[in-house]
Amino acid sequence: MNSLKINPSVDQLHDVMNFIHEQVPNKDIKLDLVIEEIFVNIVNYSKADFVKINADYSDDSIMSIEFIDNGVEFNPLEQESPDFPDCIEEASVGGLGIFFVKNFADELSYDYIDGENHFKIIKSID
């Protein structure tokens, strides 16, 4: 398993993506989306001092990732799905990021342990 510990800042997004890309042989747009949306959600809302990412890629093409932060307790799995618009006037992207995460990951789990959010993602790589 490899780990990356960084400041919760949007400026770190490309470092996060580079770290993930180093773990997997193929680029997977759905994996990238899951990672970006979770990381940016932590940056924008958690008020955490740090974000730690543990990543493990197994021989059977399964990527396991855990995001750990010491910010505000927040379970993304409890977020409701967004409303889907019929026309551009009604459209918004609130909640769309987490909706992508729920759709594109194979397994998700959340725990709040000793003042830290632990969000685990399992995703098979195409």
Partner: protein
């Protein structure tokens, strides 16, 4: 990570986007459209060389689409890859935008 080429054909603006539209690059994507407001009466966004878009990029498309709709200016998104088409479908964007 992302490059935008602007090309005018009369009042029709084509923005050819190359690369990834993520939380960081979507700021530049938004600015490149905003810089041209008032100069075009038709907007084509060519996604031929876009290989990634996150919700931040979708937010730019929605805000642009709303603004142009209010001014009755046509906006079309061209050459969307299969991967990005899946993201558009999942978001319901295939119903609210003209995608060719």
């Amino acid at each position: 990570m992302m490059e935008i080429i602007k090309n005018y054909n009369g009042k029709e603006l084509t923005l050819s986007v190359n690369g990834r539209i993520d939380t960081i690059t979507s700021v530049e994507f938004d600015e490149s459209i905003q810089d041209e407001y008032g100069n075009f009466n038709s907007l084509i966004i060519d996604f031929n060389d876009v290989n990634y878009i996150s919700s931040a990029g979708l937010r730019v498309l929605i805000s642009t689409g709303k603004k142009l709709e209010a001014e009755d200016i046509k906006m079309v998104i061209l050459n969307v890859s299969d991967d990005i088409q899946k993201i558009f479908k999942l978001s319901g964007f295939d119903k609210i935008f003209e995608i060719q």
